[in-house]
């Protein structure tokens, strides 16, 4: 076991999968010579050569489209979006060509589109996106967002081995801030399985990505006041681990959904709806959602802080829930 950063975990996942399977190759802007804007792919060009680490023109539709075509031919492309915000430029190719292919024609499209998402680093309105909700209503796509280095590696490997198109959101706030233990041997974290990060009986926080740590911080704080919250890290956003979600609800009867994208139309709606439909009998209080404000992501630190959920806001929301 070695302790590595989230970003190192991602790099290892790519390198190991490329070594394991020569159908895996990388495509993206500045991922080769430069090693990627965040250096996720650093060293991979030297190791695997320019045929498998392809520096592309500035063309999101072309690179995702090319990945679709390569996947048709049996390859396993992994595409980098320099920031995940740019996935908007290839929304059509992903939702229409990649996502619907298997259903329409029986041809699966095993590809991964990965890139840095999320805020908290003053990236402003175009470098801070959490776009999961915009893709959640497109059957055929899978969506993943790891919160730990262990998961970053294990989920990325699982995503690359998956037979379907996977959107892999790496929270840039975690790249160098999160470090944890990762096995030396090959492992994957299967898609579709949530993880209980902290056990509790009084309420459940359902979250993922960079919000997991904030939720855990809130939980620590709440524990001082005698409130024991369970923290569920979804890890995969599509398909959702309904069972884990409902198990936690059954246990605590109180649910707070937390995410970093704006509240309205966010994935919190889907989560709350599942609870309200299938966990209704367990509920002792309204299902609460805590998310970012319904605005674009503001750039200036005081604004961004006001915009996003943090540990204090999470703790306050849990208190309200418990006092209901």
């Amino acid at each position: 076991m070695a302790v590595i950063t989230y970003i190192e975990a991602l790099r290892q996942a790519l390198a190991e999968e490329m070594a394991r399977d020569d159908r895996v190759f990388l495509l993206g802007e500045d991922i080769g010579v430069y090693g990627g804007a965040f250096k996720v792919t650093e060293g991979l060009l030297d190791r695997f050569g320019p045929d498998r680490v392809i520096d592309s023109p500035l063309s999101e539709t072309a690179i995702v489209g090319a990945a679709v075509g390569a996947a048709y031919m049996g390859m396993r492309p992994v595409v980098e979006m320099q920031f995940i915000d740019f996935i908007a430029c290839t929304f059509d190719m992903l939702t229409n060509f990649a996502a619907k292919s298997r259903y329409r024609s029986g041809v699966g499209v095993p590809l991964v589109v990965r890139g840095p998402c999320g805020g908290g680093v003053s990236g402003g309105p175009f470098h801070s996106a959490n776009p999961e909700a915009s893709f959640l209503n497109t059957p055929g796509l899978k969506i993943v967002e790891p919160a730990t280095a262990y998961d970053a590696k294990g989920l990325l490997k699982a995503a690359i081995r998956d037979e379907d198109p996977v959107l892999f959101f790496e929270h840039k706030y975690l790249y160098r801030r999160v470090k944890d233990e990762v096995p030396d041997e090959d492992y994957i974290v299967p898609l579709g399985q949530a993880a209980v990060r902290r056990e509790g009986r009084d309420a459940s926080i359902i979250t993922f990505g960079a919000m997991v740590q904030r939720a855990l911080d809130a939980a620590t704080e709440l524990a001082r006041g005698g409130i024991e919250v369970e923290v569920l890290d979804l890890r995969t956003l599509a398909p959702l681990d309904r069972e884990a979600l409902l198990t936690s609800v059954a246990k605590t009867g109180r649910v707070l959904v937390v995410h970093e994208a704006p509240r309205t139309g966010g994935i919190g709606g889907e989560l709350a709806a599942i609870v309200a439909e299938d966990g209704f009998e367990f509920l002792d209080a309204p299902v609460k959602r805590l998310a970012s404000l319904d605005t674009p992501v503001p750039y200036s630190p005081p604004l961004e802080q006001a915009f996003m959920p943090g540990a204090a806001k999470i703790a306050a929301a849990v208190r309200e829930l418990v006092e209901y």
């Binding site: 190759f25 045929d51 498998r52 392809i54 592309s56 023109p57 063309s59 999101e60 539709t61 072309a62 690179i63 995702v64 489209g65 090319a66 990945a67 679709v68 075509g69 390569a70 996947a71 048709y72 031919m73 049996g74 390859m75 492309p77 059509d92 190719m93 229409n96 060509f97 619907k100 292919s101 298997r102 259903y103 329409r104 024609s105 029986g106 041809v107 699966g108 059957p139 055929g140 899978k142 998956d162 037979e163 379907d164 398909p239």
Partner: protein, 351 residues
């Protein structure tokens, strides 16, 4: 000049394309077709001729008007009829329409790969670039052929895909079909250039313009592009000058098309032209050509009947195959006729 079998093949598939479409038009009028019918009347030549210039395993991706390309690559008319009638055993199993279906054989199969279009025009260009990029990685000496309408060349996807193919020096051949209209929009409102192949200048891609209704010219130009691609000389944009002789779809009254234009182009019909050429040059006698005409008609008819006999999809199948884990349809691959003209051409139509 091309050899006799190739010339006859060109003629055969062009006729077959027209006959299949004529049969589809009847099925459309009798409400057997579900949704719209998109014809290639007057343009069959360029589809057929370009597709026939490919090697056996080369990749092809048609648009919805490139029925001729699919037939020339061995797709059975039955499957096309079934697609248009939304039948449960159609290649897309009733999930998608007209020519929206794919065929991806194993690498060893020596069969063409067919990548079906989606409706979003332009998207096929980067996808095909990726297909042939993959083939190069796999050390398979394949070229890819796809099509784009005059309208389609205005999309961002076209641009990004062409540029990507150029930078990567990929053996991608794109036939840009100037058929004078994109739905109702004439060329001059689509682009401020006269020759569609000039789009290629932005990419440093080889290009030429050919008479799209001269099947031999299209065949030869495509062949040159195939050879260039196979030879490592990168992509080609091949402009074809042709005319859409029906509306965008069958419901379209074409009120925006000047009648004179239709008259002018009727005289340039690609099939009639090839026919005279074959007859005049002695490649085939009129009787032999009539014989092919009969064959294709019968073949289209038999295939239509077979499709008509197929059931509609079972609603219970609606959730299959969204993700890999789900029950897939067994035997979903499209069965291609190896060389329908030679193998089946006689077997099927000469009972």
């Amino acid at each position: 000049m091309l050899n006799q079998p190739t010339l006859l093949e060109l003629y055969y598939y062009a006729r077959l394309t027209r006959d299949v479409e004529e049969r589809l038009a009847i099925l459309y009028r009798t409400n057997h077709v579900v949704g719209g019918l998109y014809r290639s009347l007057g343009q069959e030549g360029e589809s057929v001729a370009s597709a026939l210039a490919l090697g056996p395993s080369d990749i092809i991706a048609p648009l919805i008007r490139n029925l001729g390309s699919l037939l020339a690559r061995g797709v059975r008319p039955r499957d096309v009829f079934a697609q248009y009638m939304a039948r449960g055993l159609s290649p897309s199993r009733g999930r998608d329409l007209n020519l929206h279906f794919s065929h991806v054989p194993p690498a060893a199969a020596e069969e063409p790969t067919i990548i079906g279009p989606i409706s979003m025009l332009g998207d096929l260009i980067p996808v095909l670039a990726g297909a042939v990029l993959a083939a190069r990685m796999q050390q398979r000496a394949l070229v890819a052929l796809t099509y784009i309408g005059d309208g389609g060349t205005s999309t961002g996807a076209f641009h990004e895909g062409m540029n990507f193919a150029a930078v990567q020096h990929l053996p991608l051949i794109v036939i840009a079909e100037d058929n004078k209209f994109a739905y109702s929009t004439p060329l001059a409102q689509q682009m401020a250039i006269d020759r569609i192949d000039q789009r290629a200048e932005a990419y440093g891609v080889a290009h030429e313009m050919v008479d799209g209704n001269d099947m031999v010219a299209v065949y030869e130009a495509t062949k040159r592009a195939v050879d260039r691609g196979r030879d490592g000389q990168g992509p080609t944009l091949l402009g074809v000058d042709t005319m859409r002789m029906r509306g965008h779809a069958e419901h379209d009254d074409m009120r925006y098309v000047p009648k004179a234009m239709l008259h002018e182009w009727a005289a340039r019909d690609p099939i009639a032209r090839l026919r005279s050429r074959l007859a005049e040059s002695g490649v085939a006698t009129p009787a032999e050509l009539d014989d092919i005409d009969r064959q294709t008609k019968v073949f289209a008819e038999t295939e239509a009947s077979e499709a008509l006999a197929q059931p509609m999809p079972d609603p219970a199948d609606v959730t299959r195959d969204v993700y890999a884990g789900m029950t897939p349809f067994p035997g979903r691959r499209v069965e291609l006729l190896r060389s329908p003209f030679r193998e089946h051409g006689t077997a099927v139509h000469d009972p």
